[in-house]
Amino acid sequence: MMAGWLAAFVLVVPILSAGATTLAQGAPRLQGWLSLLGSYVLLVVSVALLLVVLRDGMVVLQSGNWAAPFGITFAVDSLGAVMTVIAAITGAACLTFGLGEIGEAERRAWFHPLSHVLLLGVCGAFLTGDLFNLYVWFEVMLIASFGLMTVGGTKAQIDGAVKYVALNLVATLMFLLAVALIYGLTGTLNFADIARSVPTVSNVGLLTAAATLLMAAFGMKAAVFPLFFWLPAAYHTPLVSVSAVFAGLLTKVGVYALIRAFTLLFTHDPGWTHTLLLWIAGLTMVTGVLGAAAQTEMRRILSWHIISQIGYMVMGLALATPLGLIGSVFYLVHHIIVKANLFLIAGVAARLTGSMELKRIGGLYRSAPWLGVLFFIPAFSLAGFPPLSGFWAKLVLVRAALEIGSWWIAAAALVTGLLTIYSMTKIWAEAFWKPHPAGEAAARPLGEAPTVMLLPISALAAGTVVIGLFAQPFYVVAERAALELLDPASYIAAVLGGAK
């Protein structure tokens, strides 16, 4: 029962933080501290939840004490708990960074309360055990992200937000339509109950159609090929701390939902669904990395790389072998930390040189060599250099593909890794190596960036190195999460009880 309360606290903490920061809107300093406090308490609570899940197995919370499948169920397995911890880490890092970035105008646009509502939506999506409830958490997350995207209100932000909002609205309705079809076919919305009912559904064609619709809806949130166009149109426009949270977390909620749906709910027709996912994965990887090659703005380059990296995570899911899913989980963890960090570093680089546009900046290596080191770690981890975290993630995925003889997807993964180096080298050569076009003095030293910005960057970079050098414990947790995913029967038993 205590464990159930712990899961509830993961949701209560961001609600309280959002409420407290709203009330403190008139007191800037207090609001900043409350916001930070909230994000670090969330981190502590989510780590505690992960430890409990790893020690005692799945935590199931039936809200209002209504037994499943009648009440709203929260079911936390290893994957959900790991994702919650990563979400809390990203939230804490980006809110810390935000203290140095946001000014009075952004603060007045409700930056802090919206950030906590966003974290609430993300954590809720990771914990819920109910399809309709997942829809509600998605919307909580979405409406907060709409608000955050337009904090600042520049022309580019409004422009980016229009595209982001429009495509997300469509995805939302597709999700809801899939919910309607699944409810009509199985008569239930509880994950475990749907999973139990799927084998008994007689209209398999319609079920597969609903599953594919759900795949499209989650795929649009996850920004997979060919549904990713909103992402590079929008992610380079908001505040740096906002875009880092988005880059790290939001698309990964889509990936999480895909993993949940296609390991627990819809494994009835893998010949169609998982083959489709494998094609999507390959095309996402390659188009994403090629799109990045054509860009010259730092955050746009990184945005295209989000897309290509999503392909790796979907690839592990599509292979549907233990090793593949281990790779996916490991990749999720590694990617969120690395990608959020790269966005934050781009923010510092722009602050020191005056722009995100590579043609207009340079000279960072001379003026701020340590920023070079800090960039080097996540950038080369992204490309998959040993011994950084990305290397292990890619190694596991490529091995998983070779194990079952999917040569072409393994080849696509390796080529994508190679092309990632090209983009990272481009940022390195342009922003760090070449002299600043406006003269040597235009690139300022690292000391001019606020310490609150450098702390989260250093901490995330240290995390990348630790995952790389001591990969074993992280691999063990990923393995456990993957094995749980491949054993839907125990998920069903944990939620619905042994009866029936």
Binding site: F132, D159, G160, L169, L176, T237, R300
Partner: protein, 120 residues
């Protein structure tokens, strides 16, 4: 009763698709509103349309004897309507701000966040 509703859902979806293919932002949002109604109706139909007794458990019983109307779709649709309303309200304000700041509601003219065109 299902068939007319299903036809209506089809009609609404067709109208919404046509509206959403427009380059005009306002039409796109109108399309979203119409499609939202189509989806809400499909949840309603998915719960099966019956004219049975109201789903009230008698005081001295644990369950209802006999057939009863399904109350769940109404709860789901209500939630979906509220969420859809919130999203639409935000989107309309965003469209207004976009019109004020960018001077257009045509989506193909909104290129502020895009990289500058290559000179031919």
């Amino acid at each position: 009763m299902e068939l007319p509703l299903v036809l209506l859902i089809g009609l609404l979806t067709a109208v919404a698709t046509w509206l959403m293919l427009s380059r005009n932002l306002i039409r796109l949002l109108l399309g979203f509103a119409v499609l939202g109604n189509a989806v809400n109706l499909s949840i309603f139909v998915a719960g099966r349309l019956t004219r049975d007794a109201p789903p009230l458990v008698p005081l001295d019983a644990e369950t209802i004897a006999g057939a009863f109307a399904n109350p769940l779709p109404q709860a789901l649709v209500l939630t979906a309507i509220v969420i859809g309303f919130g999203l639409l309200a935000f989107a309309l304000v965003l469209a207004w701000v976009a019109y004020e700041r960018l001077g257009t509601v045509r989506t193909d003219e909104m290129r502020v966040a895009e990289p500058p065109e290559e000179k031919a």
